[in-house]
């Protein structure tokens, strides 16, 4: 989400110019399958697991992840979406507006929440997401799954499941979708 936001937000944003494809669509799909197996293994099944995608980049990944989890275990997995705009720590510093509606399917008290995002960068989006989740009840545990960990953390947050560890320059941009992972630059409009 952070990636997409930064890229699209005027006036600091600009046009994304792709440079190199790092993961193909098949690679992304395999990573999701592996992460799904890791989730099942680590939690000894899927009881009380809720998959929540961060708007907007994490949502398609979360949806796909929930599907794969259902296929693996043969049980229904509840999933939802979360927009963290109102919890960000940069409100008033840069323009922040919600991207989409939050849709959390149930009371999270006692549940095991797997947060899903496309790129883990500074960690600030995840920090905001943790605060937001707390308003929906006290989850038993929260785990973090990201497709790309690109480093440059500004707060002590670490992922539990990673699609690909990818060292980057701080001024690069990473674009993640189910079609693959692309490294590129943002050029001013």
């Amino acid at each position: 989400m952070a990636e997409r936001e930064r890229r699209l937000t005027t006036p600091r944003g600009g046009v994304f110019v792709p440079r190199v494809q790092v993961l193909s669509a098949e690679d992304v799909s395999r990573a999701i399958t592996r992460i799904a197996h890791e989730i099942v293994e680590r939690n000894h099944g899927l009881s009380d697991v809720v998959v929540i995608g961060l708007q907007t980049g994490g949502v398609p990944l979360a949806k796909r992840l929930a599907q794969v989890l259902e296929e693996i275990e043969g049980t229904a997995v509840s999933s939802g979406t979360l927009d963290v705009a109102f919890y960000r720590d940069d409100i008033g510093i840069r323009p922040v507006l919600p991207e989409a509606i939050t849709n959390i399917p149930e009371d999270l008290a006692g549940q095991l929440v797997v947060l899903v995002d496309d790129v883990l960068f500074t960690g600030r989006t995840v920090r905001a997401a943790l605060n937001a989740l707390a308003d929906y009840g006290r989850a038993r545990a929260v785990q973090l799954a990201v497709m790309v960990d690109r480093g440059h953390r500004e707060i002590p947050i670490r992922p539990d499941y990673v699609g690909k560890n990818m060292p980057t320059r701080i001024d690069e941009q990473v674009d993640v979708s189910l079609d693959g992972v692309v490294l590129g630059d943002v050029v001013a409009r």
Binding site: G92, R94, T102
Partner: protein, 367 residues
Amino acid sequence: MTASQEPVIGERGGESGAGTVITPTRGAGAPRHLLSVSDLGAEGMEEVLRVSDAFVEVSKRVIPKVPALRGKTVVTLFVEESTRTKLSFETAAKRLSADVLSFNATSSSLKKGESLRDTVETIAAMGVDAFVVRHCAAGAPAAVARWVDACVLNAGDGWHEHPTQALLDCCTIRQVLAERDGRAPGETGVECFKGLRVAIVGDIRHSRVARSNVLAFSALGAHVTLVAPGTLLPPAVETWPVAAVSHDLDEVLPQTDVCYLLRLQAERGAGGFLPSVREYAAAYGLNARRAAALADGALVMHPGPMNRGVEIADEVPDLPRSVILRQVANGVAVRMAVLFMLLGTPQDESPTGALAGLGDAWETSGA
């Protein structure tokens, strides 16, 4: 008259009257104030509605509060009495975690003869980020915006405008129509307003709600019909962006999708424009028989407070097609959206989306 006509209403027609756009006192291009619906434009309104949907979701949570405006201070400066608007703004600010100073005119130094300007500057000196202003004089919020550095939100000024009422009405209509189609309000954008037949009925002359709502509905593409006795129509009604003006409610009802009733404003002397209130109620009041004559699925709306038995019969607010309490509920979400968009935007940057149109207005208005 067409909807595309330039919306010029009342005192906005003047070159320097109330409601003209104010030069921002700091920052370059960031919108600081919400004084009129026309400051937003159709795109700005759509963005406010989109953000409002997010706050409708917040309002449904177990803990309906977000930390978005922590450390900001909002003062509700209501020089004219109000129940719902004041409580709605205060609830909205509190749910955004802002601090709220509630100003009560009757127990203030205004009673000792302090001028509005001195009062406002005194409050501003305490460090306030936003003024929510209700005043019986049109243009008072615009004046306050010139005096202080803070954001100013118009919560109703005289006969002029009540922009958040118009926004919450649009939010309610969009929400109800989307629900009927089994969709999320965000999916349709503002398409549902295209060709929507809205009748605004009653004391239009004295109504700031009518002025804001006519601007909002027409900008979004609705066909607005004003229904009122000749004496309660505003002067220069021909300059309003409405499709039609009628004096016959029964004729209009079958072609109406939204019947928007206005309160007969006795405190502004509306009674003097009528032979009798009973005669008005008989000709223009919405009773159960008339409500049944409305088009299929039509909505009944009222900004409140209602004069039961005058513009609306006692049983009508309880009909399934009445969405009056939903208007109130959505009012909190819409005011959260507006406060968040004004106060959550950096002052030295032009904002994203919604209120961006305002920045342009400043450049071109020459104000």
